[in-house]
């Protein structure tokens, strides 16, 4: 099985917005930043677990809707002085299709 999983098309995500890919173990926020750059991060702020997919996307960052933490989309790192990081997932675009590398995600329900 190929390690790349197709999750949708670039235009399925609003510009400067995000959509969620749901897996049995975690939610992944897929962002469409400026210039149609696509990023995939676990949908969980390192601060108090807020859904990053619901934040405002600006530059290469997203601001968590709960307490305004700023997260770098590429690195998954919180912007200083806040400290913390969130899992990121490799993304590639093939003919406008977004593909995620979900190798490290447990895709079977019940398996922990």
């Amino acid at each position: 099985m190929s390690k790349w999983t197709v999750v949708g098309r670039v235009e399925d995500i609003p510009p400067l917005g995000a959509r969620v890919v749901r897996t049995p173990t975690l939610d992944i926020a897929v962002f469409r930043a400026v210039g149609d750059r696509i990023f995939a991060l676990e949908d969980r702020c390192p601060h108090r677990g807020g859904p990053l997919s619901q934040g405002i996307v600006h530059g290469g960052r997203v601001t968590c809707p709960l307490h305004d933490w700023c997260i770098e989309l590429a690195a998954g790192e919180a912007v200083a002085p806040d400290q913390g990081s969130v899992r990121t997932f490799p993304v590639r675009i093939t003919d406008g299709q977004i593909e995620l590398d979900l190798d490290r995600v447990t895709l079977r329900a019940g398996a922990a």
Partner: protein, 813 residues
């Protein structure tokens, strides 16, 4: 690519602050070389007084040690002096004859103490008070000698005198005029200060002029013009400072009192910049630290080739750093034409306060003995706040305004574990530690590091006090105007004016025209711009949902676990069995865990999953329920009592009035949330006097109240006026809301807005000028003609087109 070379002359606070600001915005732009006359790293000159007084050590006042320079790749040439600038060859020449090339040059040579041309001024034992070497000389003199004279009774002279006194010297201060610190204090405060310093053991000769310094191989005293002689083994000259411009002048740069710079801190040679006390800007020379921080920020912006920051001069305040004496002065305290004084004087407690007002604006303040409110007064001055409404209690300070959360608390009196910021749970000790370990200077920095005062902002005053007391008083940098956000230097008002004047109709246009420094703004400016455009161009501007906070984007309130809450509108708080059944059915069908009655007389469904929102709305819509906008910076609810229809005290039909108001105003977007209420009699069961717009019915008509708030800081409304008919209530309400919509800053509730502009201003536009009221009301109705579409209905109808509520994909099941 080879980096450009930046040479900095002067290793003091101004030069290094500029370099620090520069490194923050453009860390790799330059190879930086710093020339410093003193053989140390960079220290906080403001805190020399506590070092002299033995209250702080040298280590405690170091800002950047030598390692900092190495870490940042900066070449520090300490202890060598620059003696010439060759502007044609772009080099500086040092005292060893070596030439160092520059692409850009920053002059921060500071100032020199003024040495009076008195006979005997060169005798051993005569010193100035300017740098660490001076402090050293004074400290050594204190070990061997017993008597000192300080010439100059200004800020610096008194701090020097106090330090020497603490080290056991007998000190006499000689001052030319009869008021100490006459540039900061009026005669009354000056006399109180003198008395309290005399009580500590200082002696004064004033008014008195020094004629000669006496002595042969060492100073032994001074002689005054009136013939008196005062014995002294040490004479400190602290009569003022003079910008150090010799180097700049020899390099052919235009100088007057200081090196003349424009609003970009550029000298007349565009490659050469200058900051700090050596600079003259718009005719003004500064000798305090706050202006230097403002200048550093602007200068760094231009050195970083960003090129948009503008320095417009600084409003300054002064505090005397003598332990146990509280003194604060800001602005013009002398009054003059059209000025009014408010004076508070309590000799026994040693408290004196003088406030100077012009046209209901605070323009000057002198505080002695009780300076807790210094930063509050300073903020009122900076913002140009209309203080007419506060006038009666203004002199008693901010705590007298009624701030139940933090009333009367003084930061210095609090224990380290006292909670300062209730929103983010930050204790005083945490803030103090962050300030000292991370060397923070500004409120914004403290907010960023500790989160204190970054949520509701009600503890801002306390945090400012903590910064001031931790850093020695001068560090509360309060910028003269607040930019909208870090993406721009433009203020809210400038941005709004430009949008209208330039007919800018998209966020991208505003950012391009106003030279935003980020590609697409941030979470602060985008929602503000979206609102300003929406307000300026009703029916024309296309709302940018990605520039709205999630609640307004999703038309529901996000909760801590990522679920949402849904509140349907109930006009005037009236509902019926059909609506209640629909709500009950929805709660069952979507397994909504919590159903709660809100403070605004509505029903809240909590814990709805995002993908269920459109279906929940569809079901609610079917029963005639629409969005309650409980999630928006918008009209929230109109709370009512039952009024004359049921209540035996009711004077008018307050419920019908509330419903009519809600039908007129629902769906309007506003700078912040707007809450209204209508009470049927002065018993005020609908609590109309803590609402943004409150109506209280009386026998003869309706009282209209504005600017109330029941939140963080409770504020009761002010009476706008009384009207006779329901039609008038509607017109005044629409006009008031439109004025607020068009003029308040984004995220400014009506209460702070009203405090800022003053009730008189609002009355002039809404009450006294009928033509303008009607125009405002008409503009409100015009805007409403585009905004009264139920957002829930729109979205529910578009399932499954509205895919953003559903996951993009579900994998692995």
């Amino acid at each position: 690519m080879k980096k450009e070379r930046l040479v900095v002359i002067g290793n003091g606070m101004a030069g290094m602050r500029t370099v620090e600001e520069l490194l923050q915005v453009a860390p790799d732009l330059y190879d930086i070389t710093v020339f410093g006359a003193e053989p140390y790293g960079n220290y906080n000159r403001i805190l020399l007084s506590p070092v002299l007084a033995g209250e702080k050590t040298l280590d405690e006042i170091m800002l950047n040690d030598l390692a900092w320079y190495t870490d940042h790749g900066i070449e520090l040439i300490a202890g060598r002096k620059v003696v010439g600038i060759d502007r044609r060859a772009h080099t500086v020449i040092d005292d060893k004859g070596a030439a160092t090339p520059y692409d850009r040059l920053l002059i921060a040579t500071g100032s020199d103490p003024v040495l009076l041309p008195l006979p005997g001024k060169d005798l051993p034992g005569v010193v100035t008070f300017r740098d660490l070497a001076d402090v050293d000389a004074m400290v050594r003199a204190c070990e061997d000698f017993t008597k000192a004279v300080v010439i100059g009774g200004g800020l610096l002279g008194l701090e020097a005198a106090n330090g020497l006194l603490k080290r056991g010297m007998a000190v006499t201060v000689v001052h030319l005029v009869d008021t100490l610190m006459e540039r900061q204090l009026d005669p009354h405060a000056g006399r109180m200060l003198q008395q309290s310093l005399e009580a500590r053991g200082l002696r004064f000769a004033l008014p008195a002029q020094t004629e000669a310094i006496l002595g042969d191989d060492r100073v032994r005293g001074v002689r005054l013009k009136d013939g008196r002689e005062i014995e002294a083994d040490l004479v400190v000259m602290a009569v003022g400072i003079r910008p150090n411009i010799a180097l700049a002048r020899s390099g052919g740069l235009h100088c007057e009192r200081g090196i003349v710079v424009g609003d970009t801190l550029q000298t007349f040679d565009p490659r050469i910049y200058a900051v700090g006390e050596c600079v003259q800007h718009r005719g003004q020379v500064y000798g305090l630290v706050a202006p230097l921080f403002d200048q550093a920020k602007v200068c760094a912006n231009h050195l970083a080739l960003l090129g948009y920051a503008i320095y417009r001069g600084s409003l300054i305040s002064t505090k005397l750093k003598v332990t146990g004496i509280d003194l604060f002065s800001a602005g013009a305290f002398q009054g003059g034409d059209g000025a009014e004084d408010i004076v508070f004087r309590d000799e026994t407690r040693g408290v004196y306060k003088k406030l100077v007002l012009h046209d209901n604006r605070l323009t000057g303040a002198v505080l002695y003995g009780d300076t807790v409110d210094g930063s509050w007064y300073f903020r009122l001055m900076r913002d140009g706040t209309d203080v007419a409404a506060l006038r009666e209690t203004l002199v008693f300070g901010q705590s007298y305004l009624g701030d139940p959360g933090h009333g009367g608390a003084s930061a210095s009196a609090l224990a380290d574990d006292a909670e300062i910021c209730g929103c983010n749970g930050v204790a005083k000790g945490t803030i103090v530690k962050a300030i000292t370990t991370n060397k923070l200077f500004t409120l914004d920095e403290v907010r960023a590091h500790t989160k204190a005062s970054s949520s509701c902002g009600s503890c801002t005053g306390l945090v400012e006090q903590i910064i001031a007391s931790t850093l020695g008083g001068e560090y509360t940098k309060t910028p003269s105007e607040k930019p909208l956000c870090p993406c721009t230097d433009h203020t809210h008002a400038e941005t709004r004016q430009t949008i209208v004047a330039q007919k800018l109709k998209t966020i991208a246009d505003v950012m391009a025209f106003m030279e935003w420094r980020t590609p697409n703004g941030c979470q602060k400016c985008r929602p503000a711009l979206n609102y300003y455009l929406l307000c300026a161009w009703p029916g024309e501007y296309v709302d940018d949902s990605q520039s709205r906070f999630i609640n307004e984007r999703a038309h529901a309130n996000i909760q801590k676990d990522g679920t949402y809450s849904v509140i349907p509108r109930m006009w005037g708080g009236i509902t019926n069995p059909k609506e209640l059944r629909a709500i009950a059915d929805v709660a069952d069908k979507f397994r909504i865990p919590t159903v709660k009655v809100t403070g605004g007389q509505r029903i809240d469904l909590l814990g709805v999953r995002k993908e269920d929102l459109p279906a929940v709305w569809r079901d609610l819509n079917a029963a005639g329920l629409v969005s309650g906008h409980a999630y928006g910076k918008a009209l929230r609810t109109v709370k009512t009592c039952v009024g004359s229809e049921w209540c035996r005290f009711g004077t008018q039909d307050s419920t019908a009035m509330g419903i009519a108001l809600e039908k007129m105003t629902w769906g309007s977007w506003t700078p912040h949330k707007v809450k209204m209420a209508v009470s049927g009699c002065p018993r005020n069961c609908a609590e109309a006097t803590i609402k943004d717009f409150g109506v209280v019915a009386v026998e003869s008509g309706w009282e209209l109240h504005v600017g109330g708030n029941g939140g963080v800081k409770v504020r009761t409304t002010e009476l706008l006026c009384k009207v006779a008919t329901p039609e008038e209530v509607m017109e005044y309400c629409g006009a008031f809301l439109q004025l607020y919509r068009e003029e308040a800053r984004y995220l400014e509730r009506t209460a702070p807005w009203l405090e800022r502009v003053g009730l008189a201003y609002v009355r002039a536009h809404v009450v006294e000028d009928a033509k303008e009221r009607k125009a405002l009301h008409a503009r409100f109705l015009f805007s409403q003609s585009f905004s009264q579409t139920d957002p829930w209905g729109e979205r529910a109808a578009e399932i499954p087109v509205r895919s953003e509520y559903a996951p993009l994909k579900v994998v692995g099941v």
